[in-house]
Symmetry: C2
Subunit: 191 residues, 2 copies
């Protein structure tokens, strides 16, 4: 299964009016770049993301929390010891917006802040047991959704999904993603 259709036909790129209707699927050159296919991608992203987030939202409502809380729990869980600054970069929100969500999470004992060892201005974030437990409950919901989608689609499709999703990101997001994927327990974030 060859991937990589690097050859870019300028005609297709510029959305030259492709024939609709009886488009042969056999050839599968760069047909997947037709306008209709790209519009479909918009739809897929909308519905997919909408339903993916919806499953966790149900639980959040019961806890009087919002999606913003979930995002914090998720990324702090992903990267225990993360700095506030890095978290802000990941979420792409302002300090004030984060504060409004983070503060209650700390007060309610879901997240702990500890001064950085090398830089005591930092407040390194981590989940408490309580926070980890909640994050896990939220994860279990989405896990079901993702697992079903992955299992039905199969490994090859999953690999393709990953490639496309990475491609949708900007360079900055790709770097942030690497941060999350790294194994080191306490990545030496230099400043």
């Amino acid at each position: 299964m060859g991937m990589n259709a690097e050859a870019d036909t300028a005609a297709l790129r510029r959305g030259a009016a492709e024939p609709q209707g009886a488009a042969p699927v056999a050839g599968r050159n760069l047909l997947f770049l037709r306008e209709e296919e790209l519009r479909l991608a918009q739809d897929l992203l909308f519905f997919g993301y909408r339903d993916f987030t919806a499953v966790a939202d149900q639980l959040l409502v019961e806890l009087n929390m919002g999606r913003a809380h979930h995002r914090v729990l998720h990324f702090v869980g992903r990267r225990p010891g993360i700095t506030v600054g890095d978290l802000l970069a990941i979420l792409s929100i302002t300090k004030q917006s984060l504060g409004r969500v983070l503060q209650p999470l700390v007060e309610d004992g879901y997240v702990v802040q500890t001064p950085g060892a090398s830089d005591r201005r930092q407040r390194l974030l981590a989940l408490t047991d309580k926070g980890a437990a909640l994050e896990r409950r939220l994860f279990e919901r989405q896990r079901e959704t993702i697992m079903r989608a992955y299992r039905e689609a199969g490994p090859t499709a999953v690999e393709g999904f990953r490639r496309v999703m990475r491609g949708l990101m900007g360079n900055e997001a790709r770097d942030l993603l690497k941060l999350l994927e790294d194994e080191p327990q306490d990545g030496g974030r230099r400043r």
Copy 2:
């Protein structure tokens, strides 16, 4: 680098893979269903969707509109002649929330409402030329993003991406998606 105990325990807790009891895909391992892989999926969806929507947001800000406006323009453009009720189902929001966005779009001449032929209570929605032009400008932005991702990933990956995204949706969303993919039911422009 001070060691972070919480990081270690969290990492350990996450380590174990657990192949679930479903029938294995013929001859293939299910490693892509490990917890770490599923967490990665969460990250990918977050960053991917975030950056995908961000490109259009820039333009929207200049026009004093929000993402909600874009969604309406998109789906009305996808389905000219769509009823208010169907649009509500697609967006999964309330009549009131839609009204706040739709009303200005109509007043500013981006969308037109025409009484239904068979049911005159309905207000069938369609884009005006002005609306179609705006929707196209927004689309062009996202088109670049999707096109790049698709081209870099290749046809096989794109097919996989589609399969996974469909799998993430609930049944209801899948039905709605079919509605959008159906042959255009006339009612307006098509480039």
